[in-house]
């Protein structure tokens, strides 16, 4: 890992006066050397960019904002899981497949076995946590890299998703969830909106527009945003304030050292795999109940977007360092760039070129800022 020669910082010994070997005080430095700083600078950069290029396209109107916040919030849900796991020193490449698989676990029992929405959602969560547990357990037992274990899970889960949906429906989409779930509170929990009253009032005040049918353009805050904020808050508190958070850092920083001082590394890492699976299931549930269907291509490649968000947010790929707030900024950057490009009207053929370039610029900028202010070489 890092050795003292390559780290910023200073020390003093045996003296209590102001240390003459430190050129200036470090309280400012401490704030700006937080892992999320660079990501925050990236967020600013992105907003400035789109403020200029897409300012008058509806991107910053109420429904435009709703659009990119929803996309970012969705990504945040899985980015939080990925970030926590990454701080804990592991990867999960099966997140995307898990989203597809969890969707099937929710909708097949509901549509084909007549289970209630609550029962099948619970079933999906239990199933996903089991898969997460297995991922973690195999990684810890065999000491194989999580990259390779979860890659196998990626194939297996996606395979099950395809095979089961074709088995039950002869198609790769299982629909009809909305009709079955009618009247249950579960769909609202994952895909409803809150604050309709408030937004109605906004519309009355003219702050936001109204549709032809009289409804405000934005009916309320989608639950997916609430989930994203909730999960992020919980993960942030756990990571920074709780004993378990210290164990996550320790397990990711140096699993051997952590084990030697009595941290239950296996338990910590397995829990993190389970948490990642939990986040993927929340993502899946939000999609299933919003769209009323599960499909075998749901979540394709989402694992990368989650990892990108975490890395933009300052998590180290090698583990032991990172922040949830940063990962949320990372998700915001990714979501805003993704949807923002559409608002600017760039030809679709060039979409990916722009996405890649913007990402690179955001990460580079992030890095430059961090180096500048912390005085690293």
């Amino acid at each position: 890992m890092a050795d003292s020669e390559n780290m910023p910082g200073a020390m003093k010994t045996f003296r209590k006066e102001r240390d003459e070997r430190l050129m200036r005080q470090s309280s400012l430095r401490r704030i700006i050397s937080r892992p999320e700083l660079g990501a925050f600078a990236g967020v600013l950069l992105v907003f400035v960019f789109f403020g200029i290029t897409a300012g008058n396209t509806g991107m910053f109107a109420a429904d435009g904002i709703l659009n990119w916040t929803t996309v970012s919030a969705q990504l945040t849900i899985i980015a939080v899981g990925a970030a926590l796991l990454m701080v804990g020193g592991e990867f999960d490449l099966s997140v995307g497949s898990m989203i597809g698989f969890a969707g099937m676990m929710i909708s097949i029992p509901m549509v084909y076995f007549g289970w209630s929405a609550a029962a099948s959602t619970l079933f999906a969560f239990v199933g996903a946590l089991t898969v997460g547990f297995l991922n973690g357990w195999i990684v810890m037992r065999t000491r194989l890299p999580s990259f390779i274990v979860t890659l196998a899970t990626l194939y297996i889960l996606r395979g099950f998703t395809i095979a089961l949906s074709i088995l039950f429906t002869n198609r790769t989409i299982v629909s009809g969830v909305k009709e079955v779930a009618e009247g249950s509170v579960v769909p609202w929990l994952f895909s409803g909106v809150i604050g309709t009253g408030l937004f109605g009032w906004f519309a009355d005040m003219g702050t936001i527009g109204r549709l032809a049918n009289g409804e405000p353009v934005v009916r309320g805050i989608p639950m997916v945003i609430v989930w994203a904020l909730g999960l992020a808050a919980v993960a942030h508190v756990v990571l920074t304030r709780m004993r378990f958070g210290n164990w996550i850092f320790a397990a990711g920083g140096d699993a051997n050292a952590a084990r030697n001082v009595g941290v239950p590394v296996a338990m910590v890492k397995i829990s993190l795999f389970m948490f990642t699976a939990f986040c993927a299931t929340v993502y899946a549930a939000a999609q299933v109940f919003e769209f009323g269907s599960a499909a075998s291509d749901r979540g394709l490649l989402k694992e990368f977007e989650a990892i990108i968000a975490a890395v933009i947010g300052g998590c180290l790929l090698t583990g032991g360092y990172g922040s949830i707030v940063g990962a949320c900024f990372g998700a915001l950057i990714f979501g805003v760039v993704q949807m923002g490009i559409l608002f600017t009207g760039v030809p679709n053929d060039w979409f990916r070129v722009f996405l890649g370039t913007m990402l690179l610029i955001a990460v580079l900028f992030n890095n430059v800022i961090r180096r500048r202010v912390t005085g690293e070489r």
């Binding site: 003292s4 004993r243 084990r259 239950p264």
Partner: protein, 262 residues
């Protein structure tokens, strides 16, 4: 030395293999309360392997040991810590990217419970970390500083302070002074004495015979995985110990030639 000098750790004929490598070929040892037991020996003699077995990192191949009279088999370092055996490992077991406080309390965080939730008591932890470091002679500027930014010697002091703080019965130190300056070394040796006075047992590993002789009550010399002998301080002189450690005659001569400074 306090009157109560019951045996705290008794090791009997411990054997440890790593695949084809025989690291320990039958080692016996007794550490008593209020006693500093020095473990000496060449590079690769098996000192670290022995103490890692005692602190639950490795499981012995055969043989067993007792802590405070009770036979134990530690399956994890946590269990060893729980029975009061605290260790400073040769590689320190620190996470460079984490703060001093977090490293200090790693695995044994002070918590405030809100129902089932265990929040870290950060203020208390910071205070204790700062105080304990001050006791060992290091006035840290900020307990939130990352351990990776400390010099090697300072890092070693964090590990020592941590072990002393959590060591209830036995404190094991694996070459704690190897990277330390003169001043810091003095502090650590003084510290070892204090700990002994509190009635703990100490296992102290070093290559510096003078350091060993300065604080040790008894000495065990390991060689190639076997005990070469255990001696009480009264039974052996500094230069005899030195001779045992230096091995071959040829080397002994060399050492003399260099003015006995080694």
């Amino acid at each position: 030395m306090p009157a109560d000098n019951r045996p705290l750790i008794e090791v009997h004929n411990l054997v440890k293999h790593f695949g084809p490598v025989v690291a320990l070929a039958g080692v016996s040892l007794t550490v008593r309360a209020g006693e500093v037991h020095c473990l000496l020996g060449d590079n690769g003699a098996g000192k670290s392997t022995l103490i890692k077995t005692l602190s639950g990192v490795y499981q012995p191949t055969t043989g067993d040991f007792a802590v405070d009279g009770e036979a134990v088999t530690f399956s994890s370092p946590r269990q060893a810590l729980d029975s009061g055996v605290a260790t400073v490992y040769q590689d320190l077991a620190m996470i460079p990217l984490l703060s001093i406080t977090r490293n200090f309390f790693m695995g044994r965080e002070p918590v405030r419970k809100f129902g089932p939730l265990a929040f870290m008591d950060q203020k208390f932890a910071d205070r204790v970390a700062r105080d304990e470091m001050k006791k060992i002679g290091i006035d840290i500027r900020d307990p939130q500083q990352a351990v990776g930014t400390l010099s090697g010697g300072e890092r070693q002091c964090v590990a020592i302070a941590r072990a002393v703080y959590f060591g209830a019965k036995v404190l094991i130190l694996d070459e704690p002074t190897s990277a330390l300056g003169v001043a810091q070394t003095s502090m650590v040796l003084k510290y070892v004495r204090q700990v002994r006075q509190r009635g703990l047992g100490v296992i102290f590993i070093t290559h510096n015979v003078r350091h060993a002789y300065a604080v040790g009550d008894s000495f065990t010399v390991l060689n190639r995985g076997r005990t070469m002998g255990t001696f009480r301080r009264s039974e052996i002189q500094l230069d005899e110990l030195q001779t045992m450690m230096a091995g071959d005659k040829e080397l002994q001569e060399l050492s003399d030639e260099l003015g006995g400074t080694v």
